[in-house]
C-alpha cells in the first residue's frame, strides 16, 4: 500500500518505529488522553531515537534522512490514533520554517533542540478574529532597537502548553496598504518576558494534544529572532502551508485505513456470533465502497507525495488531497461505526475515539472551504 515509501530501508525504518510506538507510546496513551497532555519525557524519548525531524542535516544534529521518513512516522502515528504527540506538526510543519527561513546562526541555535526533543515547537497564526482569513491577524510586533515588542492573542494553537519555541505570525506596522505585506514571523521562546499561556482547551477529540491560547503582553524578544525578512511572513506561510496540508492529508488517509482495518477485524471476530453472517452479507457493498474510497485516496496521496518530494508545485493537488481525504476519513469512520452496532459509541472500542479525532481534519490547516477557494483560484474560477 505504501509504494512511494516502500524501499527496504523505508520498510525497516517503519518496523522499528512501530516497535517503538507500541513500547513507548501506546501503553500510556489512554492515560495521556485523560490528562489532556503528553509528558515532555515522551517527546524526549522520540528525540533520543531520532524520530523528531529525521530530515535535518547532520550538522544540526539530525539524521539527514529524506523527508519521507518523517511521513512514515506521521503515518504510523495516525494509523495508531496518536494525535497528542504531534510529531508531524513539530517536525514537518514548524521546523521547516526555521530550516527554510532561518539564518545559519538561528539554525545552529534551535534545530539541534528540535531534533532532540528539548525544544518542542508550535506555530501561531490563528486569532479569535482571524481564522480562515489569515491576513486579518492583529497581533503586532514593533521594533525597538534590538528587540521586538509583541502584543496580541493566539488561539487553537497545537502544542500551546508544551512549546518551547513558537513561530508567531505578527503584523509589523509598515502600513504598506496590503495586509499580506505587513506580516512577519518571529520566534518567541519560553521564558520571554510578557509571553504566557492561556487555557488548554477541551475538544471533541485529540484530548492529549494541548491545543490552547497564547498571550503576548508587551512580550520582548531579541530582534535576532525574526525569521527571514519583515513583510514576507504571509508568503512564507503560504509556502509552508503546502506541506502542512500534506501532513494533514497523510493523517486523514492513514486514519481511514486504520478504521477500515479495525472494522474488518471486529466483523471477523463477530462472525462466530448468531446473526452475524446475515449482517455481514448486508453490509458487503458498503464495505467494498469504503475500501474503494480508501484505495483511491492512497493512490492520489502517494502520487502527491511523489510530486512534493520531487519539488513540484503541488498547490492544487495538495489542497484537493487535504479536503478530500478529510471528508473521506470522516465518511469512512461514520459508516464503520454503523457496523460496530451499539458498540460504536463505547469508548472502549477504539473506533469511537477515531470518530472524535477525525472530525478535526476538515478544520485545521485551512478548512475544507478554504481548500476549495484555493482550488477555485487555481482553476481560474
Amino acid at each position: 500500500m505504501h509504494d512511494v515509501l516502500d524501499t527496504q530501508e523505508h520498510h525497516a525504518y517503519r518496523e522499528a518505529f512501530k516497535a517503538f510506538l507500541s513500547r513507548e507510546i501506546l501503553p500510556f496513551y489512554d492515560q495521556w488522553e485523560k490528562e489532556g497532555i503528553v509528558p515532555r519525557s515522551a517527546w524526549k524519548r522520540m528525540g533520543a531515537q531520532g524520530y523528531l525531524c529525521p530530515w535535518v542535516e547532520k550538522e544540526y544534529g539530525g539524521a539527514g534522512l529524506g523527508l519521507e521518513y518523517s511521513f512514515i512516522i506521521t503515518e504510523e502515528m495516525a494509523y495508531a490514533g496518536v494525535h497528542g504527540l504531534m510529531a508531524g506538526l513539530h517536525s514537518d510543519i514548524v521546523a521547516p520554517y526555521i530550516h527554510g527561513f532561518g539564518t545559519d546562526a538561528q539554525k545552529a541555535r534551535w534545530l539541534p533542540g528540535c531534533v532532540s526533543g528539548d525544544k518542542i515547537l508550535a506555530v501561531a497564526m490563528t486569532e479569535p478574529d482571524a481564522g480562515s482569513d489569515l491576513s486579518s491577524i492583529r497581533t503586532t510586533a514593533v521594533r525597538q532597537a534590538d528587540t521586538y515588542i509583541i502584543n496580541g492573542e493566539k488561539i487553537y494553537i497545537s502544542n500551546a502548553m508544551l512549546a518551547d519555541l513558537v513561530v508567531v505570525a505578527c503584523k509589523t506596522q509598515q502600513e504598506s496598504g496590503s495586509p499580506h505585506k505587513d506580516i512577519c514571523l518571529i520566534c518567541v521562546e519560553e521564558g520571554s518576558p510578557g509571553f504566557s499561556r492561556g487555557r488548554n482547551l477541551e475538544k471533541t477529540g485529540w484530548h492529549s494534544q494541548d491545543t490552547g491560547e497564547l498571550i503576548f503582553r508587551d512580550c520582548k524578544v531579541p530582534a535576532a529572532n525574526l525569521l527571514g525578512e519583515e513583510g514576507k511572513g504571509f508568503y512564507y506561510m503560504m509556502e509552508k502551508l503546502q506541506q502542512e496540508r500534506l501532513v494533514s492529508a497523510i493523517m486523514s488517509q492513514s486514519s481511514a485505513e486504520a478504521v477500515l482495518q479495525m472494522t474488518l477485524r471486529f466483523l471477523s471476530q463477530q462472525r462466530g456470533l448468531r446473526g452475524a453472517r446475515e449482517g455481514l452479507s448486508m453490509s458487503q457493498t458498503m464495505i467494498v465502497e469504503m475500501a474503494t474510497d480508501v484505495e483511491i485516496g492512497r493512490t492520489f496521496l502517494n502520487s502527491l507525495i511523489r510530486d512534493h518530494l520531487g519539488g513540484e508545485d503541488v498547490i492544487k493537488k495538495v489542497s484537493m488531497a487535504k479536503w478530500w481525504t478529510a471528508e473521506m476519513a470522516n465518511r469512512v469512520v461514520s459508516l464503520c461505526l454503523d457496523l460496530y452496532r451499539d458498540y460504536g459509541y463505547l469508548e472502549d472500542y477504539k473506533v469511537g475515539r477515531f470518530f472524535r479525532d477525525a472530525r478535526a481534519h476538515p478544520i485545521y490547516a485551512g478548512t475544507n472551504e478554504i481548500m476549495k477557494r484555493i482550488i477555485a483560484k487555481v482553476l481560474g474560477l
Binding site: 481564522g131 475538544k203 461505526l337 454503523d338 459509541y345 463505547l346 472530525r359 478544520i363 472551504e369
Partner: protein, 379 residues
Amino acid sequence: MDFQLTKEQRDIQTAAREFALGEFDPDMAMEFDAKQQFPVGVWKKACELGFLGARFPEETGGQGCGLLEHSLIVEAFCRQDSGMGMALALAGFGSEMILRHGREDQKSVILPLVAQGQGIVTAAVLEEAPAFSSIETSARATNHGYVINGAKSFVTLGTIASYMIVACRSSSDAPHIQSNFLLEPSLEGISVSGMGDKMGMRMIPVDRVTFDGVMVSEENIVGRSQCGDEQLRDFFTELRVETAAMGTGIAQGAWDRAVAYSKKREQFGKAIVSFGAIRNKLADTYVDIEMARLMVYKAAWSFDRGRPDTRETLMARMSATRAAYRTAYEAVQIFGGYGYMTEAHIERFYRDAKALELLIEQPPFQRALLADQLLGKVQ
C-alpha cells in the same frame, strides 16, 4: 390533506420549547455530559409539568395525547439541547410496552412513576449478538414461577432504574416465543455493571445486566404470556418515531446554531453567511431536516390513527437520524476551529447525533428491515 398542526399541538410545541429554553442551561448540560450523569433535576421538572407522560392516559398521570404530540415535545427538547433532550426522552425507555400491552395493575404502578418522574424505567432487550438473532436470555417455567438466566447489554440507565422490562425466551423448544418480565433490579441474582465511557449520548449511561437464577412469578410477565415478540415489535415501532423526533430536533438545533454563528462570524470583511460554501451547507441540510420532519409527523400521525406503518417508522428513523448527523457535521464545520471546542456546545450535538444513529437499530439494519418491508424477505 391538512399539513397544519392543531392549535392544541402548537400550544404543546410552544410550551415544550419554552420549558427547554428556560431549563436546559448549556453550561449545566456540558457538565452533565462531561460527568456522564443523568440530569435528575431537570427530568423531575419536566415530569411535573406533564411533558414526559403526555402519551399516557389521564388516569395514570398523563395527558392522553398521541405519539405526534410526544414527538413534538421530544423534538423541541432535543432542538434546545441534544443531550438533555435525549436523556429526558429515554428516561421511560420501554414503558410503551406497559402502556400498550400491560395489565391494569402494571399500568397503575409504572405509568404514574414515569409520568410523574418518580422513577426510571428501562428495558433490557439487546444482547451481545447482533439484533438479527433470537434472544438467548431465558425464562424457564418451574412449579413456583419462572427462573431467568442470561445477560443483557446496552441497558439504558440500568444502575438507577426502579423497574426493568426484560425480554426472555420462554419456551425451550421454540426460540421465537418470548415473554417480557417486569422486574425490580434489586432482585436476588441480578447484577448491573456499567459499560464504560461513551463518545455521545453521555447523559444516558448504558449497562450490562446479568441474570443468574432470578426467581420471578407469573405476575411479573408484561401483559399476556408468550406475547413478548409482538410487544417488542410494537415498542420498536413507537421507539423509532421517538428516536426520529430526537433526530429532527438535534438537526434543527444544530442548524439554528450554525445560522446564528454564521451571521455573527466575520472573515474576509463579511459575515460568513454571505459565502456560497456556507449557504450551500445551510440550504442542503435544511432540506434534510424538513424532509425528516415531514416523515416523522406522518409516521406519528398514522400511528395515532391506529394504523402504525413499519415502513413509515423506518423511513422516519433513517431520514431523521441521518439529518441529525449530517447537519451537526456541517454545523461543526461552519463553526470552524471553535466548533471543535467543547465550549462552543455544537460538538456535543455532533457526538450525540452519531450516537443516536447507532442506538439499537443502526442504518445498515434499518435499511435491511425497510427492504424486507418493501420487497418481502429473501427466502
